[in-house]
Symmetry: C2
Subunit: 146 residues, 2 copies
DNA sequence: ATTAATGCAAAATCTTTGCACTTTC
DNA sequence: GAAAGTGCAAAGATTTTGCATTAAT
């Protein structure tokens, strides 16, 4: 838009992130990257991301949302969290960590810190290696939201 | 089939199980109960259970399979295990325990023993209680099946 | 120019629903 | 014969796919 000044910082960051991941910085991917990574860690589904994009005035088809979520996951920008049968959640925090799942609202939250540890992790069967350990703490309750 | 003798043991067990759960012992539910509970702990999906029933010569519609799986889960005969987006697994072992998931084959297995323990379980947020803690160890590997 | 990405709508999966028919109590 | 359960096919929901168009290198 303004080419007398260099691109603003957030834009440059998004561009950089895509380049580093080896993905072409298309208009859609740049917009989604900014939505996803500019405001701390996020948990999204295809649907919520699509809605957010629309709200932000970015026109992206659902198919592209799905493509993008999976490409980002493949290159390590996102991580998929299996919480629910029939809906895929993606987390912008790709570090090893675990989750709270609020059953009432369907909201997902990282468990703060790396406190959770698993004792007596059983040995993987012959010839198998551990790809990942997922811990989900399902919460239910007198759900007055703060 | 043979009414000069009392019903055989397995049949009686299935009947008993359904009655205890407050479910009417219909032909379909009896058959599914036997398939599910007569041979140690099992992990099934709607599809695998439907196939097994068919193989066993039991005619049950898919809709009834779904109904039954959910009814059984509601009354505590089964437990749902969330492993995979887009496919629901059910476990005949309703005790507190965790799972291995073989990503290659889609097979699910209980982690033997109650060894797995979680250290530093974080406090549930205000007004929330822990409904359940799920641990899934995802395995991948030089998967030569035994 | 070449290659990759996007969008659309159609298809594929898995699951649920509505309603007539059947079975259990 | 009430009430509950079953089966079918249709409808839902989410995700994937095929292919023509558009954009990036």
């Amino acid at each position: 838009m303004n080419r007398t000044q260099g691109p603003e910082r957030p834009f440059r960051d998004a561009l950089q992130r895509l380049k580093a991941a080896g993905l072409r910085p298309t208009r859609q991917r740049l917009a989604l990257t900014r939505i996803l990574f500019e405001n701390g860690h996020r948990h999204v589904t295809a649907e919520t991301l699509h809605a957010e994009a629309k709200t932000a005035g970015v026109d992206v088809s659902l198919a592209t949302i799905y493509n993008t979520l999976h490409q980002f996951t493949t290159v390590g920008l996102l991580r998929e969290v299996v919480i629910d049968t029939g809906k895929a959640y993606f987390d912008t925090n790709t570090d090893d960590h675990h989750h709270f799942f609020f059953e009432d609202s369907g909201r997902l939250a990282d468990i703060p810190g790396n406190d959770v540890a698993i004792a007596n992790l059983p040995i993987a069967p012959e010839g198998m290696e551990v790809a990942r350990v997922d811990v989900v703490i399902r919460l239910r309750g007198a759900g007055r939201l703060s």
